[in-house]
């Protein structure tokens, strides 16, 4: 708990360090501006794990950057606010790789892609206390009639709709706002994401967003390599090997520790590395 509090403090401090843009049409000076000959890994914004607002782009971004460096592939991570943009770069511009979770590719698209799991993140269910003053627990949620579940695009939602819940889509930050407005009853997300977003955008609501007891299913964050890119297959192989090596030599622990403090590996662990067709 103490370490978690430390992380929250760090996130708030970082938020203060990052100034607002001066103009709505100003330059966004990123490393990718100076990397014209590098491959760009397009990732879905997923604070605090992948975000231009977090030091070194967040823990997952740093793991990816280090893994690509060890794979001898010049690459920089570029974040995008919506998944649609990442799909565009992967499927239309046929970039080497993208990163994210909750992807929803067709069978034909998946055949052209190589999925390498990077991390698995524990998730919890959250609800908004003022909307449910008696509490809300959907642990044995076989009957969710009358409830609205806030889902992320591409998320598996069958169990909620089968149980009778209405499904409303959004990104974590907008789902939190929908919960506050009473348009959504519960969401599922990594606790660190929820804490970070509440601190950043909804500070006054921190005490009102409550985690239900028990963990939900873990969320896997993938690197998705493109077989249609000349470097795609080889880079996927090298990256997978690099991740294994980084786990063995303690690099993953060091990066995680840097972002979340020692002993916090429980929330972020390397899953069995496998390539999914």
């Amino acid at each position: 708990m103490q370490l978690f509090a430390k992380f929250i403090f760090a996130a708030v401090a970082l938020g203060m360090m990052v100034p607002n843009q001066a103009l709505a049409t100003g330059p966004r000076v990123t490393t990718s501006l100076f990397s014209a000959h590098h491959n760009q890994i397009h990732a879905v914004d997923f604070p605090p794990f992948v975000s231009s607002e977090v030091v070194d782009g967040g823990v997952i971004s740093e793991i990816i950057t280090e893994g690509m460096k060890r794979s001898n592939v010049d690459a920089v991570v570029t974040t995008h606010p919506v998944e649609r943009m990442v799909y565009y770069y992967l499927l239309q511009e046929k970039v080497m790789a993208v990163a994210g979770s909750h992807f929803d590719f067709t069978k034909a698209q998946r055949e052209q892609l190589i999925f390498v799991p990077v991390v698995s993140l524990e998730e919890r269910y959250f609800y908004y206390m003022p909307s449910h003053p008696q509490g809300l627990n959907i642990e044995n949620g076989t009957n969710l009639k009358g409830l609205r579940y806030g889902a992320h695009q591409g998320e598996e939602i069958e169990r909620y709709s089968k149980a009778g819940a209405e499904v409303v889509y959004g990104r974590t930050v907008t789902l939190l706002k929908k919960m506050q407005r009473g348009e959504v009853d519960f969401i599922c997300a990594p606790p660190r994401s929820v804490e970070w977003l509440l601190n950043r955008y909804m500070k006054d609501e921190k005490e009102n967003v409550i985690a239900m007891p028990g963990d939900a299913e873990a969320q896997t964050f993938y690197m998705v390599f493109n077989r249609q890119h000349p470097l795609g297959e080889a880079a996927a192989e090298k990256f997978r090997d690099a991740l294994i090596a980084m786990e063995k030599d303690g690099t993953l622990a060091r990066i995680t520790s840097k972002h979340f403090g020692d002993g916090e590996l429980g929330g972020l662990f390397l899953k069995r590395l496998e390539t999914i067709k």
């Binding site: 103009l23 709505a24 990397s35 606010p81 889509y169 990104r171």
Partner: protein
């Protein structure tokens, strides 16, 4: 058959027209010359595009200037600007890219012959580089690479330092930098070199709030208005007014690209 098709088209147009009949679509903007400014004729380059596309589509649009912080914090307004600045905090029902801007490296030839050598993060190390406060995104990555920027809240200050040789390079939005050089050193415009950065194209878009009534139909009308003024040459004439002969070669291609990327952006 032809009659039924015409009926459907006319019906659709009537339906669309009813969306904002008698209503003004309010668009929040942050003053950023020469793209958007109440002190420029027709609100500047993007303002002119908005007004022309609106007229072509039969929409009345009103640009309301606000501080950027207020625009970002408000998650129920229509925003004009780079969608990336607003999307972290707000979902939009539609995003209509209206214009494209690029980022350039500016240098002063008498003090610093060229900027060809700046091709990577590492190559910035040996230079004194100036930029506007608040525009640095990957601060920690640059810091780790040993790059320290000189930041300023004032554009003019950056270009004066460049002129005096206290900075080697200034990173600035292409059109903004050119406008400041023209204003500050009208006799020396030719002495300033400009290297446009190849991966720097970004959109300036009309970001339509989720709670905007009939947002999808309205966005379709703005897109149609934009298509009409591009086709008629009015759009190109607006660009020429601001860029002169310096319109980026990939401008139209990037505008189409952003139009595609953001076409189905609603969550």
């Amino acid at each position: 058959m032809v009659q039924s098709v015409i009926t459907v088209i006319v019906g659709s147009l009537l339906l669309c027209s009813s969306v904002v009949a008698g209503e003004v679509v309010k668009l929040d903007a942050n003053e950023s010359r020469p793209f958007l400014s109440p002190s420029l004729a027709k609100d500047g380059m993007v303002g002119e595009i908005i007004h022309a596309a609106s007229a072509a589509a039969g929409i009345e649009s009103q640009i309301i200037y606000k501080p950027l912080k207020r625009m970002i914090e408000n998650d129920s307004n229509n925003d004009l600007g780079n969608p990336m600045f607003f999307m972290n905090n707000q979902d939009f029902s539609a995003v209509v890219p209206l214009a494209v801007y690029h980022v350039s490296l500016f240098y002063y030839r008498p003090k610093h012959g060229h900027a060809h050598e700046i091709v990577s993060v590492e190559s910035l190390k040996d230079h004194r580089v100036g930029l506007l406060s608040g525009t640095l995104v990957n601060r920690s990555a640059f810091k780790r690479a040993g790059i320290v920027f000189e930041e300023s809240y004032a554009h003019a200050s950056l270009f004066r330092k460049l002129h005096k040789g206290r900075l080697d390079v200034v990173i600035e939005v292409d059109l903004v930098g050119r406008a400041f050089i023209q204003d500050l050193f009208p006799e020396e415009v030719e002495n300033f070199g400009v290297t446009r950065m190849p991966q720097s194209a970004s959109p300036i878009a009309l970001n339509m709030a989720v709670n905007q009534p009939e947002a999808a139909a309205l966005a379709a009308r703005y897109r149609e208005g934009l298509r009409k003024i591009r086709e008629s040459g009015e759009y190109r004439a607006i660009l020429q007014k601001y860029y002169g002969e310096q319109i980026p070669a990939d401008y139209e291609q990037q505008l189409d690209r952003f139009g595609y990327i953001y076409q189905e952006v609603s969550q």
